[in-house]
């Protein structure tokens, strides 16, 4: 995908899943009546025998995935993030994480960028829920390229994964084919005025803020945190030492998500103030994705203000 075009990570996910299915016969996909929205229908059309629509029954979907994994399959189980992680939390805990089942849980429609569906469908606590589970790897890609990489990369190791994806179309940040490493953040720029740690849908907003500030002679760095767990401790310590101010931003609650993960490392290693931008212990509401990010103060303008404050 060309840079500067916009595509939702759920779309990239659906396309990448089909490509992965072509390469690896062990891949099976489960959905809970949202295959058109999660884009697993692309895989479903290509490989109907390896696609299971479980109906509106997320708990059963996760359990079935664990059973398939115990027989050597690599199941990707998808639904909206709210239902994939919230409705079936105990199934993920007991049947997936405790036995280290090779299940990849894919939550699309995460955060307020879900838009019009409103609070019930805007999952703001999934990173918190999934990050607290032993054996779980948590990945939240920021664009098309990173999503395609993540979909394939997580199939290469045995163990539970939570892949957090968005509904809204966001800019392509990376050149097609760029490789990443699980647990290694990506740094943009060497600015020392501030570090903005960002994840998922708001990484592009952070990069926009970096440009605006650069024009005013304020150099900051942006760090794309595609892996929330395991968190890249070294990068956090490095940025804490090299930059004046630390900011985190996420389309998620400031409780338990990216901001918390960074704060934990800072508390352990090098205590320093961190400004956590995100949803402030509140639910979302209906509106358009971009309107909502503006309403809740999660766009480039807000980041610029925070850096200057």
């Amino acid at each position: 995908m060309d840079k500067d075009t916009k595509i939702a990570t759920r779309q990239s996910f659906g396309e990448a899943l089909k490509e992965l299915g072509e390469k690896n016969g062990k891949i099976v996909v489960l959905d809970a009546d949202l295959a058109g929205a999660t884009k697993t229908n692309i895989f479903g059309k290509a490989f109907p025998d390896r696609f299971f629509d479980m109906g509106i029954a997320e708990q059963d979907m996760i359990g079935t995935a664990a059973g398939l994994a115990s027989c050597g399959k690599i199941p990707y189980a998808a639904s909206f993030a709210a239902f994939a992680t919230g409705r079936s939390y105990d199934q993920i805990r007991s049947s997936v994480c405790y036995p280290k089942a090779n299940v990849k849980i894919c939550g699309t429609h995460a955060g307020v960028t879900v838009g019009e569906d409103g609070a019930t469908h805007q999952m703001l606590e999934d990173l918190s829920l999934m990050r607290g589970l032993p054996n779980m790897t948590v990945i939240c890609p920021s664009d098309d390229t990173q999503t395609r990489w993540a979909v394939e990369e997580v199939s290469k190791f045995e163990g539970p994964v939570y892949l957090r994806l968005s509904r809204a179309a966001t800019p392509v940040i990376y050149d097609a084919g760029t490789k990443f490493e699980i647990g290694k953040m990506v740094q943009f720029g060497e600015g020392t005025k501030a570090t903005v740690f960002a994840t998922g849908a708001v990484v592009s907003e952070s990069l926009k803020a970096q440009e605006i500030l650069a024009e005013e002679g304020i150099d900051i760095r942006v760090v794309d945190v595609h892996t929330i767990k395991p968190i890249d401790r070294e990068m956090i310590i490095k940025c804490a030492k090299e930059t004046d101010k630390l900011i985190s931003i996420e389309d998620h609650s400031i409780i338990g998500g990216l901001g918390s993960a960074i704060a934990e490392v800072l508390a352990d290693e090098c205590p320093k103030k961190l400004v956590r931008m995100g949803m402030k212990d509140e639910f979302g509401k209906s509106g358009k994705a971009m309107q909502l990010l503006e309403y809740f103060g999660l766009v480039s303008k807000n980041i610029v203000e925070e850096v200057k404050r």
Binding site: Q59, G63, T64
Partner: protein
């Protein structure tokens, strides 16, 4: 069941999911008798230095095909195994034991729907119908009855047996193997603590061990 204690991870083995994981003591004793684990290890049950956890752990115990403990989850995982067998055209069968109190969990019926929908004739469910759960008798706490009709309506072939009669048990499993195009549910009427005078039909013996004196009495009753 087609299992081999010398090759507990054989891809073609039959699978057993003890969805009512709190009955782990019975499962471990069976696995020991069958040669999966040493009999003397049973003494470590639920103790810190033992691998025999309070609830079955597939990562630690040979012969345990699925980790269970949180009720209501076993049938979904059994369905996954049965689906996998179908995908790979393998002929192993999957057995799943549910408690009658456990079937109050909604996920059990999501899974029952799914087993019927996907016509999992390589799946056999056993409901241990002792009519007791922690807070009292199953019918008084939250009645799941009629159990047989429920499974029937979810697309199962059903068989009712006396769960203490070995001939009936064997006949039911044989019958289940002949059923095509639908899963089977065996509803086994049982008596909790059967054969032990002071345990029979006592809900309080759901998950605790007898003391020395009680053990001596129980062994006397069973001999």
């Amino acid at each position: 069941m087609r299992v081999d204690p010398s090759n507990p991870k054989d891809e073609n083995r039959d699978r057993f999911v003890l969805s009512k994981g709190h009955a782990s003591a019975g499962l471990y004793a069976t696995l020991a008798e069958r040669g999966f684990i040493p009999v003397e290890d049973l003494k470590g049950f639920r103790k810190l230095d033992s691998y025999l956890q309070g609830h079955p752990d597939m990562k630690k115990i040979a012969g345990v095909d699925m980790t269970t403990g949180s009720l209501g989850q076993g049938l979904s995982t059994a369905n996954g195994m049965a689906l996998s067998a179908k995908l790979d055209k393998k002929d192993f069968r999957v057995y799943c034991a549910l408690g009658d109190g456990e079937i109050q969990e909604g996920e059990v019926w999501e899974a029952a729907m799914s087993a019927g929908h996907y016509k999992l004739d390589n799946l056999c469910v056993i409901v241990d119908n002792n009519n007791l759960q922690i807070d009292g008798t199953v019918d008084k706490v939250m009645s799941p009855y009629p159990i047989v009709e429920k499974f029937k309506s979810f697309g199962f072939h059903t068989i009712e047996i006396d769960g203490h009669d070995f001939e009936q048990i064997i006949k039911a499993f044989d019958e289940a193997k002949t059923v095509k195009g639908k899963p089977t549910a065996i509803i086994a009427k049982t008596v909790k603590g059967k054969g032990v005078s002071f345990m029979e039909n006592q809900g309080s013996w759901h998950g605790k061990a007898p003391n020395e004196e009680e053990l001596a009495q129980a062994m006397k009753d069973l001999m």
